[in-house]
Amino acid sequence: MADYALFLGCNIPNRLPHLELAARKVLPKMDINLIDIPEFGCCPEPIGIQELSRDAWMAMAAINLCLAEEKGLDIITLCNGCFETLRTVNTELKNDGHHKEKVNKVLSKIGKEYKGTQNVKHVLEVLYNDIGVEKIKANVQKELKGIKIAVHYGCHVLRPSAILKTDDPFQPKSLDELVNALGAESIPYLRKMLCCGTGIEGIDKENQLWMVHDKLVQVERMKADCMTMLCPLCYIQYEMGQLQLKKEPYKAQFKVPIMYYPELLGLALGMDPSELGFKLHRVKVDPVLQKIQ
């Protein structure tokens, strides 16, 4: 069992509790032990708070890093945004004495000190690098045979690659391989690397929805049974987006189930669908579940 401090962030616990449920129930089956640190706050969010003040963003992120250090635990994140913030700040503070000194001066006001003893990992890295495709394959009880899946990575698990170091920034393969390991088939599709657009949602919702629309068109065109991803913000865009795209000017009727990868993993490990939170999906996942039965 590898112990990790579970970093939930804001969106998963407060908007998508079924993703949290899947992570908590499924990851321990792969020997990942999740430990709660109730004092964890917002990471803070990298595409709003960092843009206002990078210095403030770094210092606030360092509070979370200190909390994990105090427990002697590495952090596992379930969200690309949390990952980008915590991995970036941890890397910069570890490698740049000047930043570290500045941040520690601020942290001293709340009796904390950043030391640089722990690592930050995305759940994708833990599954792909630490557990590995072979071990996952060996644990599959119910192959997801015949299920075609459109994989979406999300930008902030990949780029900037020099800092995040997870996979190729434009041609990643880790999540595709993790999907194939379950007996399902990761299908190629156009616009696979198109961003979900969360970063401009607050300013230009209309065009952001066109971004979501254009990806869903390609996913449907390839007759995918569902999409899968590992970021709650991407999840919200592609799931809620389908409801929003029904209206003018889009008038689009998509029915693409959105599955959080740990949910697929749980099903393949033989869990009953009733153990997971599929009722909370806004786009019904029944067609996928029926195909697996």
Binding site: N14, P38, C42, L52, S53, R54, I110, R159
Partner: protein, 167 residues
């Protein structure tokens, strides 16, 4: 007002974070070619922003709301043949724009939630009940006072004009 070409702004950016890399920009437009924000908004263009910085058009660059249409996908930073850290420079520019009060209104709500609750999405009673039904523990309860102290110490409270919520 006529635009005056100068190297002052470029020199200022060069001193901040990854800003120095802007000096290597030769205006090839590779960043714009792969930019989803340009593709979808039509008005946003990272190559043009780099050009305006190189030419020294500080005010125009920082006050233009278009600056906030980048999705921060970091494709430009990976693709630039000259190693210009385009998206990192955009963050520097947005930090400078914030200092003159030019940032999107909706970020104020995010700042308030962050400093009031320690979470930008504090959740509702309905979510709490749903979590209970799913057998999930209570949501994280960050020490808000610590976050506020750190925010204050870095000048973030003054910068954003944050006011605590009325009890």
């Amino acid at each position: 007002m006529a635009l005056k070409i100068s190297s002052e702004f470029r020199k200022e950016i060069s001193k901040l974070g990854e800003g120095f890399s802007i000096n290597y920009c030769y205006q090839c437009g590779t960043c714009s070619g792969g930019c989803p924000a340009l593709r979808y908004t039509k008005v946003y263009n990272p190559r043009r922003i780099m050009e305006n910085v190189l030419l020294g058009f500080k005010e125009d660059t920082l006050k233009d709301p278009v600056l906030w249409l980048c999705t921060m996908c970091h494709a430009c930073l990976e693709a630039c043949p000259q190693g210009v850290k385009v998206s990192e420079i955009l963050i520097i520019l947005r930090n400078l724009a914030t200092q003159i009060g030019s940032y999107p209104e909706h970020l104020n709500a995010e700042v308030s939630a962050l400093l009031d609750y320690g979470l930008i999405n504090p959740g509702s009673g309905a979510i709490q009940r749903r979590r209970q039904q799913l057998g999930l523990p209570e949501v994280p309860r960050p020490k808000v006072d610590n976050i506020k102290k750190v925010a204050d110490e870095t000048g973030f409270i003054k910068l954003t004009g944050y006011k605590p919520k009325e009890e």
